[in-house]
Amino acid sequence: MLTDITIGQYVHGNSIVHILDPRIKIIITIILITSLFLIGNFWGFAIFLVFILLIIKLSQLPVKKVLKGLKPILFLVLLTVILHIFMTRGGELLFEWKFIRIESEGLYTGTFMASRILLLIMFTSLLTLTTSPLKLTDGIEYILKPLKRFGIPASEISMMMTIALRFIPTLMEEAEKIMKAQKARGADFESGNLIQRAKNLIPLLVPLFISAFRRADELALAMESRCYQGGKERTRLHVMKIKRRDVTAMILSIALAVTVSFF
């Protein structure tokens, strides 16, 4: 039950998209998202969509999985469309009934915005679908590095993210164990109204927090006894290297960004 929840949405694979350098992938994502906001007509979106489909094909991701990621924002998209249709004025009158007026400009802007949001989510989810959380944090650390000069502890932030990710499954397991132990004492986690249910969670949450703090203490000790010092220049096991494929991907992306933005 609890352990069925997957962390992030990473789908394991060995495709060219998967093995690209995470730093390059993050930068490409940022560039292309920016370009997505510069696109001025539907042709740009069409090209962008083809590009996304191409990446999905290359990465051998199940299309269903990518589409599933759109579900949570469907409401937002619908709301955008509806608001634009009814509120934006301009163009020719398409439909009128009592106080409801739909004009062509509204319909156009609505679908335009909706396409933008859908493409945006689809594209960013490609990053998390094809990059393992650990690689992602590595990439983020590297990109944040220059900010060290302004006092931002990049390597500590990334270490914290890594540890947090690492301990999510452990805590899940722990939560399930405590839940069982309390159930054995007659605790009820399934029925009652909202407030009652929230209250019923106390016997689960208190021990869970205590164990999390205990683990944190132990981990800190273990790290210190192996001479960990945050922020010091640390070497890594998997050194990230920019390869030719990364450069190619970068050039292609920039080309795409420029094309779609000025279309």
Binding site: K177, A181, K183, A184, R185, G186, D188, P203, P207, I210
Partner: protein, 286 residues
């Protein structure tokens, strides 16, 4: 018959089809003291969680005191009141501000009256060897590890279970704590007529306390009988990388060296007697 399992199979991971329990048939009688042994991952913990319906089997039937717990819509609270389960490191489940409140958590869930709860908490703490007046208002988190474990066990005892299951209750306790725990289990079994099921890696505990031993391997029950029977299968146990109680091991080794000696002995006293007898007879022969 208190608990009965019929053809119980439990598959852990549907995709990979890992069988945690493989066609288990088992009967547990009132007033049994059962020891369950088996190496890690043999299915012991899964098995005992079946007893109080924390896990439902993939197939098979389970009866607890005549209630078919594998049916839908079973009154789980009733089942869990009959079968109490003390998990590994039970002190990790403590959460209340005071010892009293934590022990009262179970009875509270049973919706008992205030004075009944009060009585139960007193008795449970007393049984677990903690002085009621001294401990009731203390925070469970300021106690020593051994005391915390007693509070947690008292929390289960306050449910007044007829069957008490303990999963590795002595793990992480010092020798003194282990002895106290053993005494507690003995008392519960003898004086309070509670059926006890004990999972342990310490063969001494198993042999000294239980009247029946169940050996598990790969989700199956491989041996099931009195300690004397089970521990006579030395080779079988060794092939499962389980060891004999130290005392029994010594007697087996003596026999290997040609001594005519009994090996179905689990206490130091009996072993001393047997060895003195042997030495006496050797003297006579000389």
């Amino acid at each position: 018959m208190l608990i009965e399992l019929k053809n119980v199979t439990h598959i852990y991971n549907q995709k990979q089809g890992i069988k945690a329990l493989d066609n288990i048939n088992l009967k547990i009688d009132e007033h049994d003291f059962i020891g369950i042994v088996g190496h890690t991952g043999s299915g012991k913990t899964t098995l005992v969680q079946m007893f109080n319906s924390l896990i439902k089997p993939t197939s098979g039937e389970i009866f607890v005191d005549g209630i078919k717990t594998t049916k839908k819509n079973v009154d789980l609270n009733r089942v869990r009141q009959i079968v109490g389960l003390v998990f590994q490191y039970p002190e990790h489940q403590l959460f209340e501000e005071t010892v009293y409140k934590d022990v009262a958590f179970g009875p509270n869930n049973l919706k008992l009256k205030k004075d009944e709860i009060d009585k139960r908490v007193k008795v449970a703490l007393d049984l677990a060897g903690l002085d009621f007046e001294e401990f009731k208002d203390r925070s469970p988190f300021n106690l020593s590890g051994g005391q915390q474990r007693r509070v947690a066990i008292a929390g289960v005892l306050a449910m007044r279970p007829r069957v008490l299951i303990l999963d590795e209750p002595s793990a992480g306790l010092d020798p003194q704590g282990r002895e106290k725990l053993k005494a507690l289990l003995k008392r519960l079994h003898k004086n309070y007529n509670i059926t006890i099921i004990l999972i342990s890696h310490r063969m001494e505990e198993i042999t000294q306390l239980s009247n029946r031993v169940i050996v598990m391997d790969h989700g199956k029950i491989v041996l099931n009988g009195s300690p004397k029977e089970v521990f006579s299968y030395k080779e079988k146990l060794e092939s499962l990388s389980l060891e004999l109680p130290e005392i029994t091991e010594i007697l087996f080794r003596l026999r290997e060296r040609g001594c005519d000696i009994r090996t179905d002995i689990f206490t130091v006293e009996e072993a001393v007697e047997e060895i003195t007898k042997l030495m006496g007879s050797q003297k006579d022969a000389n």
